[in-house]
């Protein structure tokens, strides 16, 4: 009788032993976050799925796939799967050896080998499902991060703002420079404000990248204003001996914006009529 058939024949026994052992095992410490009822149900589902996979010749069948999807989506720890499969392996070997009391060393090795061959593909499949899912999440997050990493916001004709948040490394600096330059050409921008309020640390490397970006912007024919320089950043920049005198710097975005307005010959006129009226009245009084 093949090993598979033996396992299937002794399904009930293995099942009971497995459930018992699993409950005694570490798996229960997940019960802090997951209700016992749910654990019990998932245990049943896991062992059922294993047996369905055993009975099916092709191995990775629909049930296995469904179970994997479900357990990954629910965010069950991968330790649960590995431990569950481990317990299944030991229980299976034990059960088969108990059924064949005359087992010798060769037979024992044979059983081990065959059970491994049955259990491992299922385990590998489940773990692969996990890692694929993780890979997907990581690449999605990387994409999301990249989108957030260097946005360019056109505020007015000729003026755009690029707010930078978070640490800047070489990869990000490259992305920033590319976005900045292509954005300038696209929006026909005269003045770009780079806001570094959200950059926690400005060291020589970050300053170097910013200077390079500003120089590249100048080559295109636009001007770069560095804004959002906090006191501690001003201190570090001077202490490190970094020379930022080639392009204008301002402490806040609003001050930088005013400078940008001057550079592009623009004024903001208040539409508040009251103020004007008051001035007219004052003028009239002065005349009299």
């Amino acid at each position: 009788m093949s090993m598979k058939a033996q396992l299937i024949n002794n399904k009930q026994e293995i099942l009971e032993q497995w459930l018992e052992e699993v409950e005694n095992k570490e798996l229960m410490h997940y019960s802090k976050t997951i209700s016992e009822d749910l654990i019990g149900r998932t245990n049943n589902e896991l062992i059922d799925t294993i047996f369905i996979a055993l009975e099916n010749e092709t191995g990775a069948n629909d049930e296995l796939q469904q179970f994997a999807e479900k357990i990954v989506n629910l965010g069950w720890p991968i330790g649960y799967i590995t431990e569950g499969m481990q317990v299944f392996r030991s229980v299976s070997i034990k059960t088969i050896l108990e059924k064949n009391s005359d087992a010798n060393k060769d037979y024992f090795l044979n059983v081990m080998d065959e059970v491994n061959q049955i259990v491992d593909p299922i385990k590998t499949y489940l773990i692969n499902q996990y890692s694929t899912n993780w890979d997907n999440i990581v690449s999605l997050q990387k994409l999301a991060l990249e989108e957030l990493s260097a946005p360019l916001i056109p505020v007015m004709d000729d003026i755009t703002v690029m707010p930078l948040v978070g640490t800047i490394d070489t990869d990000r600096a490259k992305l920033i420079m590319e976005n900045l330059l292509s954005g300038i050409v696209k929006h026909r921008t005269d003045v770009v404000l780079i806001d570094i309020t959200g950059v926690p640390v400005v060291d020589t490397m970050v300053a170097h990248h910013i200077i390079q970006a500003a120089e590249a912007v100048r080559l295109l024919g636009a001007t770069c204003i560095l804004v959002g320089i906090r006191p501690e950043i001003a201190q570090t920049i001077v202490n490190l001996g970094i020379d930022l005198s080639n392009f204008p710097t301002k402490s806040s975005l609003s001050k930088g914006f005013q400078t940008a307005l001057q550079m592009t010959d623009k004024h903001i006129i208040s539409s508040n009529k009251d103020g004007q009226n008051l001035e007219q009245i004052m003028e009239a009084i002065e005349k009299e």
Binding site: E178, L181, T189, E215, A216, R218, L219, L220, G221, A222
Partner: protein, 119 residues
């Protein structure tokens, strides 16, 4: 092929539409200086919109043209530098600090007029 240099009142317009090699760049330098001398132009706009590659030698030649033209009393403005070109130049450490730049031909002419008025 020589790069055409167009005269517009007091200005000269140059649009570089071929990939510059070392020789054509030197020829261009010579031609432009001669033309400035002959026409007495006070301003030059060099448009680089269709230039996709600039190596360090071409950059030096172009930078030199600016200083040379300045000596002859003509102000030079570069326009339409492509983002990729700008990035390469910065990476090569060529900052072209003395060279005025503008986004496009229109802005370039405005800038030229401003610079000439300031004198």
């Amino acid at each position: 092929m020589r790069i055409p240099i167009l005269k517009l009142h007091d200005y000269l317009l140059v649009s570089i539409q071929v990939e510059l090699d070392d020789q054509s760049a030197m020829e261009f330098q010579e031609d432009l200086l001669k033309k400035i001398h002959n026409s007495g132009a006070t301003g030059v706009v060099i448009d680089l919109t269709s230039v996709e590659v600039i190596d360090s030698f071409i950059a030096k030649v172009l930078g030199d043209v600016v200083s040379m033209a300045d000596l002859m009393g003509a102000k030079v403005v570069f326009t339409g530098v492509q983002p990729a070109v700008s990035m390469t130049l910065i990476e090569l450490g060529i900052y072209l600090k003395e060279v005025p730049t503008a986004l496009d031909l229109e802005q370039g002419l405005i800038k030229l007029r401003q610079e000439l008025e300031e004198k």
